[in-house]
Amino acid sequence: MGHVPRTQVSSNPIIAFFQYVWSSLITAAKGLRVTGYNAWLRERVTVAYPKQELDLSLRTRAKHRVLVDDTGDPICIACGQCQRICPDHCILVTRKKVTVTTPEGEEKQVNRPDEFVIDLARCMYCNLCAEVCPVDCLHLTRDFKYSSGDVHTMRIELEGLLRPEPLSEYEANQTDGADDEGGEE
């Protein structure tokens, strides 16, 4: 008489039998009500991904992006802090001296990255590189569609990371969020 609490089971075996039958029907009906609600009234939780996409969180961290200045050069100063802090050792930055002309007209020697490689296959998107960047040129964007069948194509050179276009609204939000993060916590 599993479904009926022991205290409610009648001592009369015939009444107990009908209690048993009745409680079986009731418990089955309760279960059917739950699944019936799921089938007819509840929203589907599955997202049919390629046809339909979820709104990503503003703090989603995916592919890296290196900001460029007005002339199209990366504003990175090749300090190598991102390479040093990276827990996965997936960033490689080498330095070169470049002569640039400042808006005032004088020539100036600055550090610029010679080689800037991120192995996205090793990256765990912890955002430490973006937080440590002193000139705020490295960010993690919400662009996550770069999966590949060949692991070597996940090794992205500087050209693949440069993003000349201005920040879109959500990326700007994301950057602000990342900056504010320390204060909030």
Binding site: F17, Y20, V21, S24, T35, N38, A39, V45, T46, A48
Partner: protein, 364 residues
């Protein structure tokens, strides 16, 4: 007119000589209809099963082949056809190979006595219901034999469970069908439906077209619930799918089967599912008789008695069976036997007594 001439010449030139030469060929026509019906309905049922389970679990189910994935099971069938057909080395080869067909053939044969619509019955046997239940029970022989021939302990256990389940659940099933036989006074499936279509002896208001359905009498109502529970066990569906309990027996009797032979077991299972729903619709829910108008006029004709209503009822019953399947957890083997011997069989016996009283006092 031109088309009719074309058809006439086809009949005169091809069909008539064929009929003259081999007159028994007309008997193949219903057989062909049944085979096509079974094959197509099983494909639809497999798709429906996946969609219903997806609904219940708030998923979406198959999507990509055809509109809302209707061709998914066609592709699955093609995949199964092209798969390697492995036979275990220690298996009893002959028995292993014919077991799926032993399970499948009875599942198709029983459709012979199912009245799909007015006059849509392949053979109106005067022992139709008896034939249906006895031939329908043969399918389990295939399951037992498959379990034995696989030479695998899981398969054998699955087969043995199927045998125990069959022996147990035949009794409440037959006892609930007996109620209908008593009320109808006939074993012919067609006559049972006609009795219901013209009857007016139930709890339902007497003028309504569905007043004669046996599910609206007290013993018939109890019998229909008992029948549907026993039928779930009879066709090895959850919560009574112990012969193929995945969590205990790998895949039960069909563990060693692959490719087309596995597909035939699948076909038999779904064909049986449709069949028990069909029997329940016929003997309890008025078969092809319409619940709205029996003989409609004008636009109402499409709601009159006919094959459509039969399929509507079968669809509703199968949906119910799927709903139960994806709701209730599998029972344990001892619980399963307990449900039948301590629950269904006493109830069915009491119900037979009620039916005797019903027939004696209210009239059939």
């Amino acid at each position: 007119m031109e088309e009719r001439g074309w058809l006439e010449s086809l009949v005169n030139g091809l069909v008539q000589p064929l009929y003259d030469a081999v007159p028994w060929i007309v008997h193949l026509v219903p057989l062909l209809w049944i085979l096509v019906l079974v094959a197509v309905s099983v494909l639809i049922l497999i798709w429906a099963e996946r969609k219903v389970s997806a609904d219940i679990q708030s998923r979406v189910g198959p999507l990509h082949h055809g509109p809302i994935g209707v061709f998914q099971s066609v592709w699955d069938a093609l995949k199964l056809l092209t798969k390697e057909d492995t036979i275990p080395r220690q298996a009893d080869r002959l028995v292993f190979c014919i077991a799926p067909f032993i399970a499948f053939v009875p599942a198709v044969l029983v459709y012979v006595v199912i009245p799909f619509g007015k006059g849509w019955i392949a053979a109106d046997l005067n022992v139709g219901l008896w034939y249906l239940l006895s031939v329908g029970s043969l399918g389990v022989v295939g399951v037992i034999v498959a379990g034995w021939a696989s030479n695998n302990k899981w398969s054998l256990l699955g087969g043995m469970r199927a045998a125990a389940q069959l022996i147990t659940y035949e009794i409440p099933m037959f006892l609930s069908v007996v109620v209908v036989i008593m009320m109808a006074g006939t074993l012919s499936m067609d006559d049972i439906v006609r009795n219901q279509a013209g009857g007016r002896w139930s709890l339902a208001p007497p003028e309504t077209p569905f007043a004669g359905w046996y599910c609206f009498t007290i013993p018939g109502l109890i019998a229909s619930v008992l029948y549907l529970v026993a039928a779930l066990a009879e066709v090895n569906r959850q919560p009574f799918d112990l012969p193929e309990a995945e969590s205990e027996l790998v895949s039960g009797f069909n563990t060693e089967y692959s490719g087309m032979r596995f597909a035939i077991f699948f076909l038999a299972e779904f064909s049986n599912t449709a069949l028990v729903a069909g029997i329940a619709a016929t003997i309890f829910f008025g078969g092809w008789s319409s619940p709205i108008v029996s003989e409609g006029e004008g636009i109402w004709q499409i709601f009159g008695d006919g094959i459509v209503w039969y399929f509507v009822k079968i669809t509703a019953l199968i949906y119910g069976m799927m709903w139960v399947k994806w709701t209730l957890p599998r029972v344990r083997i001892d619980q399963m036997l307990q449900v039948a011997w301590k629950g269904l069989i006493p109830l069915a016996l009491i119900n037979v007594a009620i039916a005797v009283a019903h027939v004696a006092w209210v009239g059939p």
